[in-house]
């Protein structure tokens, strides 16, 4: 029953999406109002059908209906309920269904929010969204169908991949990643619609910016959660290894970030329109490339849990989307009117340009390093990979440069600036730069790149904080009280600006924390020959308390307990473990971390002997790791502040030609 219902819903979603896409494009061409109305209805219908299909699958998982092929593949009666729900995206077929569900949600949301406005662009945008939706419904209906009927249903299933069960972060990370990845379809639709119409007026910039910002927030958090998961689970003491799957999540984020900045230049100066559209299209194409890389099995990585034969299908879609994007650009880019030009090298817009250039260079660096082994393998069947030093040596200077521009850019005024203005803007922040370097040196930072990062970070911090509260200070100078100046200048009128600078401040912290935590990490290996033994690691005393074995319903664990002490004072008890799952013969290690604001003390079990009670551990002591997670969350919150629409003072009829927030300073 359930499998048939599921298959019916998927076919209905395929039909609805394909028909809606057609109606959208035709309505865009004929400018028919009825056509647009119908395109909207089909968009809503598609969303309703695909979301229902996903919920049917969740129901089948929860009721352990093993006649559904996907449930027979990943379900189990032995696992906790949260793992059962998480299994919706733990394997390929389910994850594509989950993708469809999120795409449906995004399409419905975007259609609803933009209803009655942007009627020039909306039909084509809906057409593009539903065309993408048809592709994913086709995947679900054909090569990745989770709703096959199992003729003789088993009584119990194997459960999802053990690595997914091993940590609760695996329940949170994938949804964020999908909310980011899938969401980039929406700005892609708007950008293509603008190209099809050959116009990118002010009124389409707002939906493009907002629909880019929302998935960007999710993607930002998702990348952090992925790193955090790797840190908490994989046991090598780090959070980023330039693994192909990690890179796949980073690539679209880089181009999306560049686009969020270039949009500001379009708003202020009316230039870089084609460039911004190119970046948005590139973001979507990189999402497809990332999906291909992670879902096709061309890379085997700890993060890629699902592989199958859908690779070629995704590759075909990627090729179609690429040809479509390039052709649209080639035929239409000249019709986008240029309204201004860059006035001088020491101007805000020039810095935006350099910012974009750096983001594109980082994108190419990561893209080449990730794809190069694939190309080599395709040509001469030799297997290789590009090692971490390549990525580090390329991205560290570019990242430092980015931090430098993050400081210099907002200090400079738009348009032409006099030499005196430039000096007055650029010289004072050097004070903070020197303070940061001195502080870092006093705390033990010695690496040249670390010190340079601290200098640029200090510079950027002073500029960012100064700019952040500029509207409030101006109001207070005019006699307003601090409270009203804050509410009016920061939260009501200048909210987008305020949010943007919160993001910038958080980025300064993230980059400094990454530089410090990776360059000042210390590793020690300890071998305990007996219970009660105490050994030293990086100035800490580690005492081995013993080993405990614990049987849980879905796994068997060996847990070693240690006391971490400094100067005779106990700081924490850490219990790294090895988990044995039924579906895997080899155990999965689970490190344990004692985190403080200053540094993390990280213990990973490499070897235990339960008979003789001996244990070997790797200890990693790294400063500022916690700041990476917290500052990335601050980035997301800052972006959220910038995204919340400013309450408009102008009536909406007047608002459309010129955006209400007519003073966007940064993206």
């Amino acid at each position: 029953m359930i499998p048939a219902l599921g298959r019916l819903l998927i076919l209905a979603s395929l039909f609805t999406a394909a028909a809606g896409a057609l109606i959208g494009f035709v309505a865009g061409r004929t400018r028919s109002e009825d056509g647009l109305k119908w395109a909207r209805r089909f968009a809503y219908a598609y969303a309703a059908i695909i979301i229902t299909a996903a919920l049917v699958m969740v129901y089948a998982l929860l009721t352990h209906d093993f006649s559904v092929s996907y449930v027979a593949q990943v379900g189990s009666r032995q696992i906790p309920t949260w793992v059962t729900i998480v299994s919706l995206w733990s394997s390929l077929e389910g994850s594509i269904l989950f993708w469809g569900m999120i795409l449906g949600g995004y399409i419905a949301l975007a259609t609803y929010v933009t209803r009655g406005r942007y009627t020039e662009y909306q039909p084509d945008a809906i057409g593009v969204w539903l065309a993408c939706a048809s592709f994913f419904s086709f995947l679900i209906a054909g090569p990745a169908n989770p709703f096959h009927t199992v003729p003789n249903p088993p009584l119990d299933g194997p459960g999802p991949n053990a690595l997914l069960q091993n940590h609760v972060l695996m329940a949170i990370h994938p949804p964020f990643l999908y909310l980011g990845y899938v969401g980039f379809t929406i700005p892609f639709g708007f950008a293509c619609a603008a190209l099809i119409k050959g116009r990118m007026g002010h009124n389409v910039l707002k939906p493009i910016r907002e629909s880019l910002m929302l998935p960007w927030i999710f993607q930002t958090v998702a990348i952090m959660l992925g790193g955090w998961w790797a840190y908490e689970v994989l046991g090598w003491g780090g959070y980023w290894a330039w693994d192909p799957v990690e890179n796949a999540s980073l690539l679209p984020w880089l181009t999306a970030t560049a686009a969020l900045h270039s949009i500001v230049v379009v708003e202020r100066r009316g230039i870089l329109k084609g460039w911004t559209i190119t970046l948005i299209q590139a973001t979507f194409l990189l999402v497809l490339l990332g999906t291909f890389m992670t879902r096709s099995g061309v890379f085997n990585s700890v993060h890629s849990f699902t592989q199958s034969a859908i690779g070629p299908t995704i590759l075909v879609f990627l090729a179609v989307a690429l040809v479509f994007s390039v052709a649209l650009l080639a035929f239409r880019i000249d019709s986008l009117e240029v309204e201004g030009r860059i006035e001088g090298a020491a101007s805000r817009e020039a810095m935006f340009l350099i910012n974009n250039l750096i983001f594109v260079l980082i994108t190419f660096t990561v893209l080449i390093g990730t794809v190069f082994p694939l190309i080599v393998e395709a040509i001469n069947e030799k297997q290789m990979s590009v090692g971490r030093p390549y990525f580090d040596s390329m991205t560290v200077p570019l990242g430092a440069l980015l931090l430098f521009i993050l400081g210099v850019g907002p200090a400079l005024p738009w348009g032409r600036a006099t030499g005196y203005q430039v000096q007055r803007a650029l010289i004072p922040p050097i004070i903070s730069a020197l303070l940061f370097v001195a502080g870092g040196y006093a705390l033990g930072a010695r690496g040249p790149w670390t010190l340079l990062t601290l200098a640029f970070g200090g510079y950027a911090a002073q500029v960012t904080i100064g700019q952040m509260f500029l509207p409030m200070r101006m109001r207070m100078k005019n006699g307003e009280s601090a409270g009203s100046a804050f509410v009016e200048g920061q939260l009501r009128r200048g909210r987008r600006r305020f949010g943007s600078y919160i993001v910038h401040a958080a980025v300064v912290i993230v980059i400094i924390a990454i530089a410090v935590s990776s360059s000042m990490r210390q590793q020690t290996e300890l071998h305990f020959a007996r219970k009660g033994q105490t050994l030293q690691a990086s100035g800490y005393d580690v005492t081995f308390l013993g080993i405990e074995q614990r049987q849980e319903p879905h796994r068997f664990s060996i847990i070693a307990t240690f006391i971490v002490a400094r100067n005779g004072k106990e700081l924490a008890r850490l219990a790294p473990r090895m988990n044995h799952y039924q579906s895997m013969r080899e155990p999965i290690g689970s490190p344990d971390v004692y985190s403080t604001a200053a540094r993390d003390f990280y213990v990973s079990l490499s070897n235990v002997d339960t008979l003789n009670e001996t244990a070997s551990i790797s200890v990693y002591v790294a400063p500022m790791v916690m700041w990476v997670w917290l500052a990335v969350i601050a980035m997301a919150l800052g972006a959220l502040v910038a995204l919340i629409p400013t309450r408009s003072v102008v009536p909406s009829a007047v608002r459309d030609p010129v955006p209400s927030d007519a003073q966007p300073e940064t993206a």
Binding site: F299, V302, F364, S385, P389, Y390, S393, E525
Partner: protein
């Protein structure tokens, strides 16, 4: 042609020129960066076939731990042979072997050949998914499976 037009064209030519120079420079830097940091996925047979090239290059060597070859030295140092049914390579490593390390298990060691004719490894990884079975007598080693294993053992999983 007005003066501003001329100036604008000159600016544009300058911009295009600068862009090309930057792109070429970036390409050269990236290419040499990749070239210096390649990690080769080799079996013991590949390693022998490559001769001198194996000395100094970063290699991820995949194969089976030969039966009876494991010698535990003091501390965490371990020596053993890795084979693929045809050739074998002597490996010395200084890292703590993972829990499941034993004879006849698929391993991947990362390191390089050093003078003295053995493989010095800084990283020892054991295959998580036991897809690679020991080659039985008379059956050739399944190269595809071995390559899969070398890829699947993650960079960061030690």
């Amino acid at each position: 042609m007005s003066e501003t037009d001329l100036a604008r064209r000159r600016t544009r030519r300058f911009m295009v020129g600068a862009f090309v120079v930057a792109a070429v420079a970036f390409g050269v830097i990236a290419a040499s960066g990749i070239n210096q940091n390649l990690v080769y996925y080799w079996t013991p047979s590949d390693l022998h076939a490559n001769g001198r090239k194996a000395y100094g290059a970063t290699i991820r060597l995949g194969g089976m731990v030969a039966k009876g070859s494991i010698q535990k030295l003091g501390g965490s140092a371990v020596e053993f042979d890795v084979h693929d049914g045809k050739s074998r390579v002597h490996v010395k490593t200084s890292t703590v072997p993972p829990q499941m390390f034993r004879e006849n298990i698929g391993v991947v060691v990362e390191g390089t050949m050093v003078p003295g004719g053995y493989f010095q490894s800084s990283r020892l990884m054991v295959s998580h998914n036991n897809e690679y079975k020991a080659p039985e007598k008379g059956h050739p080693v399944d190269r595809k499976e071995l390559e899969r294993m070398m890829k699947s053992v993650s960079e960061d999983n030690s």
